[in-house]
């Protein structure tokens, strides 16, 4: 990890991110917009699958994963640039490390859901059609991403090392 940090600190991208007046705030703005998109999509998708949005059929949710993936892609890109711009601070930050761990957990959870239920989702016309495992995975998803948001905001305030 130390080698990666030292190498990143010598890259031109690192220098540009640190020297530019507007790059950092612009990336933060993009990161906030991306997380809103991801989280908004998650709330609708996960609550609906879990059975808490009776006005919406689970079958209607088909376009939402694309919205969430777009939000995640935006945040993965902007987040990677944060890391490249300040690798020494992020790599040793407990909040950041836990956040990355939870992003991996949430990602595996999402893949599990799509692999197991992606093909069945368009057929879920009533809540009775939704399998129990799908509801459990949806609940795990919502709580994991909630913790990701919480930890992300705490990064500047928690201990390093």
């Amino acid at each position: 990890m130390q080698h990666l940090v030292e190498w990143l600190q010598q890259t031109a991208l690192n220098a540009w991110l640190l020297d530019s007046v507007w790059a950092w705030p612009a990336l933060e703005i993009v990161h906030f917009m991306g997380l809103s998109l991801l989280f908004g999509g998650l709330i609708i998708f996960d609550l609906c699958v879990a059975g808490y949005l009776p006005t919406l059929q689970a079958a209607a949710l088909r376009p939402l994963p694309r919205v969430m993936i777009a939000g995640f892609a935006v945040n993965f890109a902007s987040g990677s640039l944060f890391f490249i711009g300040d690798p020494g601070r992020y790599s040793i930050n407990i909040g950041f490390q836990l956040k990355m761990l939870l992003v991996i957990v949430a990602g595996m959870n999402a893949f599990w859901f799509l692999w197991r239920f992606g093909a069945a989702l368009p057929g879920w016309q009533t809540h009775a059609d939704v399998p129990r495992l799908a509801r459990v995975l949806a609940a795990i998803s919502l709580f994991t991403w909630l913790a990701v948001l919480l930890l992300g905001r705490l990064i500047p305030y928690v201990g390093t090392g």
């Binding site: 703005i29 906030f32 998109l37 991801l38 949005l53 006005t55 919406l56 088909r62 500047p156």
Partner: protein
């Protein structure tokens, strides 16, 4: 300004500014509220503008109701954060722009919510939302984007 000075001296403001964990915890709640309100409202807006076609307009009533819950979390945490540094915030231009944009997005959200309750079933039959509803959805999207931009710039001004 006198009111901002008074606000900073209230027990709530002192509790927020003197505790090590309350301020970051409020920031976390503030961003969870933001993501809930902005994320859900943006998806409702995109639906009104003709995107996400498999989701019926009448099905957007649930997400619209939940969006207000996000705004509530956002407002409560925001008021506590504001109180702790009221004298700084009242003179911060991005902060004032942000508050204006939040008010604009809340007004447009309430108009959209009323239309959804009254007309969504009709829109489902016609296959699209009428032009005035699409115009309000555009205003709402732009106000949300402006609120996020201005909000993030508060720390840099």
């Amino acid at each position: 300004m006198a009111m901002a000075v008074w606000l900073e001296g209230t027990p709530l403001a002192l509790w927020v500014s003197e505790s090590d964990f309350v301020y970051p915890l409020l920031l976390s709640l503030h961003i969870i509220g933001l993501a809930t309100f902005a994320g859900l409202l943006a998806i409702v807006d995109v639906r009104l503008l003709g995107g996400l076609v498999t989701m019926p307009y009448s099905g957007m009533r649930g997400p619209m109701r939940l969006a207000w819950f996000g705004l509530l979390i956002n407002a409560i945490s925001g008021i506590a954060l504001f109180a702790s540094q009221a004298t700084v915030f009242v003179e911060n231009t991005p902060f004032l722009i942000k508050i204006g944009m939040i008010i604009l997005s809340a007004i447009s959200a309430s108009v959209i919510h009323r239309h959804l309750n009254r007309d969504a079933t009709d829109w489902d039959h016609r296959g699209q939302a009428p032009r005035p509803a699409r115009a309000i959805a555009t205003v709402s999207l732009l106000a949300l984007a402006a609120a996020i931009i201005a909000g993030r710039l508060i720390a840099y001004y």
